[in-house]
Symmetry: C2
Subunit: 313 residues, 2 copies
C-alpha cells in the first residue's frame, strides 16, 4: 500500500519533507541551461533538457533527506510535449532513487473522464489487449468539485495498483477562503469535503492506521488544519505552503497527530532555488544548496514536533 511505503520511509529517514519540483527556467542556473540553448536554440527542447538535468541534480542531493518529490505538472505542461517528457523522466528518476512520487496534477472530472486521468497517472491504459503505463506516480492530487463519482474512479486504481491520492480540502492560496470557507448548516465547505474524504479514507487503512487516501491542507491555515485533523484522523495530509508561501514549522504542527505522524510537508522554491539566497552558494553548488535547505527544513520540522511532544522517531 502507498501509505505503508510512505510511513516506512518517514520513519527510516526521520523526515516528513516533500520536495516540490516546480521548475522555473528563469531560476535555473545558467551553467545548466546555456549548454542546451547552444545545442538546441531557445526551444522547448532546450528548456526541457535543462529542467531534467536540474531536477536530477536536486533529486540526487535530496533523496536521502526527503521522502517524496511532488512535481507540479503545470510547470512541465507549459513547455509542451518536451516539457511533459521531462516530467515523465523526472518521475522515473526520482522513483529509482527511492523517492515516492506525488504527481501534483489536481485533476478531477465526470466519472468516465476521471477514469482516463486515473489510468494516465495511477493505473494502466489498454491498447489492443495490452496494458501500458502512461505516466508514473505513486500518488496524485485530486480536485473534489465534481463529488464522489469523480473520486471513485481514482479509488478503484488506488486499490488495484496500490497507489494513493490527496484530495484538495483547504488549499494554501489567499483566495481559498472564497469558496472553501463558505458555511453550510454550521459547517464550512472544506469541512464538508473533509467528511467526504474521511469516508473514503476509512476504507483503505494500512498497518500504521493511516489511509492511502489523504488530503491537501495548506500550511498557511493552521487553525483550519487543527479542525481538519479531527475530522480526518486517518487521512495523511499533504501540506503545501511551507517556506516561500509563508508557512512556518509551527504552522504545520496542527497537521500532525499526537503520534508525530499524519502529515508530509512540501517546499518547492525554498529548496530548489536555495543557491540564490545565500552568498556562500554559487551556480555550481545549487544541488548542495538544495540539500542543505532540505536538511534545515527536516530538522526545523522535527525540532518543532518534538517541542510539541509529537515525536514519531
Amino acid at each position: 500500500m502507498f501509505i505503508n511505503k510512505l510511513i516506512e520511509s518517514i520513519k527510516e529517514k526521520k523526515s516528513s519533507v516533500v520536495v516540490g519540483l516546480d521548475p522555473r527556467l528563469e531560476l535555473i542556473p545558467s551553467i545548466v541551461k546555456d549548454k542546451y540553448f547552444k545545442k538546441h536554440g531557445k526551444t522547448f527542447k532546450a528548456a526541457a533538457e535543462s529542467i531534467l538535468e536540474f531536477n536530477k541534480e536536486i533529486i540526487d542531493n535530496v533523496c536521502d533527506i526527503a521522502v517524496a518529490v511532488k512535481p507540479q505538472i503545470a510547470f512541465y505542461e507549459q513547455y509542451g510535449i518536451e516539457g511533459l517528457k521531462a516530467y515523465d523522466e523526472t518521475c522515473r528518476h526520482a522513483s529509482k532513487k527511492g523517492l515516492l512520487i506525488i504527481g501534483d496534477i489536481k485533476r478531477g472530472d465526470i466519472g468516465s473522464t476521471s477514469k482516463a486521468y486515473s489510468k494516465a497517472h495511477l493505473g494502466k491504459t489498454e491498447v489492443g489487449g495490452e496494458y501500458l503505463q502512461a505516466f508514473y506516480s505513486d500518488s496524485i492530487t485530486v480536485n473534489p468539485y465534481l463529488g464522489d463519482d469523480c473520486l471513485k474512479e481514482f479509488v478503484e486504481d488506488i486499490e488495484e495498483y496500490e497507489k494513493g491520492m490527496f484530495v484538495l480540502v483547504k488549499t494554501s492560496n489567499p483566495s481559498s477562503s472564497q469558496l472553501q470557507d463558505l458555511e453550510v448548516e454550521g459547517k464550512k465547505i472544506y469541512e464538508k469535503v473533509a467528511e467526504m474524504v474521511n469516508n473514503w479514507s476509512d476504507q483503505y487503512i494500512g498497518k500504521f492506521n493511516y489511509s492511502s487516501i489523504g488530503a491537501v491542507v495548506g500550511a498557511t491555515y493552521p487553525e483550519e488544519a487543527k479542525r481538519l485533523r479531527e475530522l480526518m484522523p486517518s487521512s495523511y495530509f499533504l501540506v503545501p505552503g511551507y517556506g516561500a508561501q509563508g508557512g512556518t514549522a509551527d504552522d504545520v504542527v496542527p497537521c500532525f497527530n499526537k503520534d508525530g505522524l499524519g502529515a508530509v510537508v512540501n517546499s518547492s522554491r525554498g529548496i530548489l532555488y536555495a543557491y540564490k539566497k545565500e552568498e556562500k552558494w554559487t551556480e555550481e553548488s545549487y544541488g548542495k544548496a538544495a540539500r542543505d535547505a532540505a536538511i534545515t527544513m527536516r530538522d526545523d520540522i522535527n525540532t518543532t514536533l518534538e517541542k510539541h511532544d509529537k515525536k514519531y522517531w
Copy 2:
C-alpha cells in the same frame, strides 16, 4: 475576442453544436487502428496515430456543421506523451478547418501554478527571451475550487491573447449535487460560483453583449440552468451532457437566452461513434455517420429553440 469569433461562427453556421473529441480506442473502427497496430505493435504510438486519423476524419466531416470541437485532454493523457502529441495535432488540424478549440482541461491551482497552466494552453511560455506556444486552444475549461486568484491568472491571458474560458459551475455528472448543491445563506454553491463567474464575465464583454468568460452548465440539470441563466446573463454556457449522458434538446433550452444565443451544446460519444448505432453505417462510413449525427443534433436544437421562440437566425 474569442466570444465574437464564437458568435459569428454560430450565426454563420446556424449551429450551436460542439463536438467533443474524447477518443476511446476500443470504439475506433478496426479499419483505422489495425494498420497502426501492424506498423507499431500494441503501443501508445499506434493508439495515438489511430486517434489522430480518426479525429481528422471526424473534424473534416463536421467542420461546417459544428462551431467548435472540445477535445477532452484526459483521453489523450492516458496514452502518455504519444497521446498528448495526438491532442496537440488534433487541435491544430481542427483550427485549420475553421473550428474553434475548447480545450477541456479543467485545470485550476494556486496563482503561480494556474499561470503556468494558462501559459501552456492559452498564452505563451518564455524560453530565454523567446515566447513559444505549448498547446493551442481558443478557450479552456477551468475548475473554480481555488477561487479568484486562480481564475485571475487565466483572465490575464484571455485579455492578452484574445482567448476564452468556461468555468465549471454546475457539472453534468450525478454526484455534482454533492458539493455544488450545498446551500449557503439561501444560495447553492453553484449559485455562489455563478456570481463569481459573472463578476469576471462582466469585465470582458464583446460586441454581441456576451463575454469571453463563460460557464459550464450540465444539460442534465435544466432547472438549475434556468436559475443560472438569470445569474450570469452575459456568460456563454458550455453545455455538456446532451445525448449519451441523457440530456435532450428540451433540457438545453433554458441555457439559451431569449435572443437564441448564450449556449453551445456538446456531444461526444453520440457523434463520434454514431456509426455503431445504425445498421446503415459501416466501419468505413464512420465519418459520414458522425456528420449525419451532428446535423441531426444541430437541427434538433434549432427546431426546439424555434418552438420556444428563441431563434437567433
